[in-house]
Chain length 342, copies 2
């Protein structure tokens, strides 16, 4: 089977493998089967969707045994260089590492931040690392679902550390925060202007802030930035995890202090496993995603209804011109929709 | 009419006033009519709801001419003392002031932060001030709807400044942020521990941070806190309004610097009216509330369905025990719901 599906899997005919066969190949660590399963998870075709659901259900008992790390930062902060250095460090510690990405901007360009072949070159070649580009289409909700299910698949394949990369420009951080154990914010030294690209509120979600590019002339600046961030984080209220966010610095270029980042994450894991937050958080996340998906599906049924959308556009004009209150407009729309169409 | 409806309006029989009569009384500044209309807006009875909708629609053309100010801060920061001092200052400037409150905690206690008669004593007696306690029941969504419609009613009654008070302990700040022009965060000096009660991310929504109780021995501490907050705010990215959040301090006890807070708000209004954000923001808020309400109604139709909830509870157990993915569970539920019940 692993021969018939290559890494850049393109299915020409219906799959001839049963969900059970898929699961057994994935558990055996077959990269091609893993990639293929993720492709089904990302697919919008109904038949792929059914197959994906079956595979995921069968993988669930084998999932959950990784630490899931979200990494964000503005473009230019050196995310891919950091992940490359960090990923290679982890494999030296005997870990298997999967890198997934959530990049809503790729929905527009059709490309993907991880699609660039020149990025993470050594990581892609590391046999203990699995790198998967971001799905190139779909709503953030859809991408979130695909990513969360990809985590299950990667865990079933035996990856110990799952890194979810996101770009620092929007809603995607909040989405990633909701599916990881640990959220790492990469920052440049010379705080201030560089923060412009980070959505308000992101810093407060971070379990650690790490100043990148702490090398050469930049090192003193990085140390200064560290103390600034420490002061700023000090002003934020305690997290539900009881974890006090850490501030550190590193240089991916010199492999400097990369181990320290892993120490912080390990220490977080110890703390939160012991105080029960780690497990509790994952349960809450599962409930959260179930509820999110229910709401999403209920709402999308309305937004996929052409007639309802025509009505909505009409009433929206009346709302903006002050003819009708937004609440009454909403009520009229939903009443009409639920009454007429269902 | 104003005689037959008193301030603590309790309707014993059906109202004998038409929506048009209500609007004309409200426009004439009749406090009793205004209170009664807000009671309809807050009511969960279907007949009140219909009447409220009609009144709101007829008031809409007369609304929009106030500045809407959200005020938050942890319990103990001196919110009511500040609002009292600020409100009396504004009436001295010839303004009419309405104070509304959003307090989700009152849903639990059945009471209301503004229900305490000893609070804002002089403000309640000021004839140019209208103080309305928080609705004591309903979801945050319901309370938000009632508050937003109460703003329309107060504006129709000629209030120039609408203050929406919220407690600094949850989702309510985000709700209030979405219905005001200006968001004011009150803070205590000696930053750090006092922030524990403020939800992460609130500080980043503030158009101004004002340190309260800047009197006596506290004054130097307040000034120190000011510079700390200035530094912290400097780390946050620019706001959509292009407004740079201001940090100030005041003492409601001594009526010290209360005028400065109003200067900041006026300056904000000038800036954002000129750059177009003020109007644009209100339009976006209207669209936001329409969309929010549509989603709310779609989702509540599901959550009000007893059969669907029984199914959900069953599947949730399977999700938490890892038998089914949260996404597949959601799908099964919504399919069954939309297929069976409608």
């Amino acid at each position: 089977m692993s021969k018939s599906i290559n890494h850049n899997f393109k299915r020409k005919s219906k799959p001839t493998y049963s969900p059970d066969e898929f699961v057994s190949e994935i558990r055996g660590g077959d990269i091609s089967a893993l990639s293929a399963a993720i492709t089904f998870v990302e697919s919008s075709k109904p038949e792929d969707h059914i197959l994906a659901n079956e595979i995921i259900d069968k993988c669930l008992p084998f999932s959950g045994n990784s630490i899931r790390i979200g990494i964000t930062g503005v473009p230019g902060v050196g995310k891919s260089t950091f992940i490359e250095s960090f990923g290679n460090f982890l494999t030296q510690q005997g870990k298997k590492v999967a890198v997934l990405a959530i990049d809503p901007s790729s929905q527009k360009s059709g490309g993907s931040i991880l699609g660039d072949k020149t990025r993470m070159e050594t990581l892609v070649q590391n046999e203990n690392v699995f790198v998967r580009p971001s799905p190139s289409r779909g709503s953030l909700g859809g991408v979130a679902k695909a990513t969360r299910e990809s985590i299950v698949l990667c865990e079933t394949a035996g990856y110990d550390v799952i890194i979810i990369e996101t770009v620092g420009v929007g809603q995607s951080e909040i989405t990633v925060r909701g599916m990881v154990d640990f959220f790492l914010l990469l920052m440049l030294s010379g705080a201030g202007d560089e923060l412009q690209g980070i959505k308000r509120g992101i810093m407060e979600m971070a379990d650690a802030v790490v100043i990148t590019k702490a090398d050469g002339d930049n090192l003193p600046l990085a140390k200064k930035a560290m103390s600034e961030y420490k002061n700023a984080l000090h002003l934020f209220p305690a997290m539900d995890s009881q974890w006090i966010p850490k501030v550190s610095h590193c240089s991916a270029l010199n492999n400097y202090n990369i181990d320290e980042v892993w120490n912080i994450i390990s220490s977080y894991q110890n703390t939160t496993v012991n105080n029960g937050f780690y497990t509790e958080n994952r349960k809450l996340q599962s409930q959260f995603w179930m509820n999110e998906r229910i709401n999403e599906l209920l709402v999308s049924s309305f937004y996929n209804d052409a007639e309802a959308q025509k009505e909505k556009a009409k009433l929206e004009k009346d709302v903006l011109s002050g003819k009708i209150s937004p609440f009454k407009a909403a009520e009229e729309l939903v009443q009409k929709y639920l009454g007429e169409d269902e």
